[in-house]
Symmetry: C2
Subunit: 222 residues, 2 copies
């Protein structure tokens, strides 16, 4: 197994990630751990948080990763914030942007700078339960199967092309917290997996369908 | 295992089902087969179709089950159709109504006659992709995980309290037909399972939550 991925990685440049966070950063930690383990051919060039007190920043510092705080309240509007965000990411030579619990909607300023290179992880099986508090929405609705979705970001709220989804059961006695924990375990496995697909150049976006919506395809290993 | 369910069924009345169909009736067949097999403690008192040519009617006749055709186009409005439907079901002593590919929305006429006793199976993970052509909707959206949902019917379109859900992967080369087939295999397992839960008196509807939406709970075997 070890030999296999070493062969596979040989000669490939690692994916250069900019990871955007707002909270505790467990998905950031999952990416750091998979890189350390040698199972994700990437490096995290910078971690950007819009919240100065985010625990994710401590995780980044512990791992020796540069951190930047961009307090969104210090900017006149979304476009000004996004312009500074793009500047920061480009200054660190980022080629793929990861929203790992980043609680901001971005504008076309970011999406144009990183076309099809902005990835989000969302704690529901989209298109069910988009937006904030997805786990609480699923519990309140009485869903029996929920999960997580990794998708490319577009200008909507959790509407972009879906790359991968994983399901978890919802039990009778679940509340928002217990469901969040169960989904998080899937998130921590899925997000690094998808990033490795991107590192391998396996993800392609297919717009040849009905013309109204792009679909993601996963190419075989080459 | 055999001994176990025999013990369990002993002294319990079988659930008396009225199964409503519009199409090929593979879910009806799954119910018939599980009853024959002794793993579902139910009997089908009547199969009602709104389509005279539905293949499901042949399946019912082959199994010796009474059939009734109610052509919705012969009724003045939905309420008139539903009144006749309720009459038919009550005449056959039905206590639980199953929509197994029944392509009609019913009114409160049916729901009041069978409160919390009308069950539907839908080929998506609701609340995603309600309404017609759920499988095509999932493929067009680019979902990577879809499945089926068994829920109690309310007056909305596929909005009632969810009893159970099962997931299936969606592959890059899926079209509506291939996804339908994969979901159907899950439907055929799930629908009889849920009906047995109802036969066992294990399903309860909990309205003690946020007060806005009923949630279904599955009680332990007693």
């Amino acid at each position: 197994m070890n030999t296999l991925w070493r062969t596979h990685f040989r000669g490939r440049e690692p994916l250069v990630l900019g990871v955007l966070v707002s909270g505790s950063g467990t998905n950031l930690q999952a990416i750091i751990d998979e890189i350390d383990r040698g199972s994700l051919n990437a490096k995290i060039a910078v971690v950007v948080s819009n919240i100065a007190s985010a625990k994710a920043l401590d995780r980044a510092r512990t791992a020796g990763i540069p951190t930047v705080v961009l307090d969104h309240k210090a900017f006149a509007d979304r476009a000004a914030f996004d312009t500074k965000l793009v500047e920061t990411l480009l200054a660190h030579h980022v080629t793929c942007v990861v929203f790992a619990g980043f609680m901001r909607i971005v504008t076309s300023v970011v999406l144009r700078a990183f076309p099809n290179r902005v990835v989000n992880i969302h704690p529901s099986l989209l298109p069910a339960f988009p937006g904030v508090n997805a786990q609480a929405q699923a519990v309140a609705y009485g869903a029996r199967l929920s999960g997580c979705t990794v998708h490319f970001v577009d200008e909507g709220t959790d509407t972009g092309p879906i790359i991968a989804q994983r399901g978890v059961p919802v039990y009778d006695d679940d509340d928002e917290a217990s469901l969040r924990e169960r989904i998080l375990r899937k998130e921590h496995a899925l997000l690094p997996t998808v990033l490795q697909w991107i590192a391998d150049g396996r993800i392609e976006i297919d717009t040849s369908g009905d013309g109204t919506r792009a679909r993601v395809r996963l190419k075989p290993y080459s």
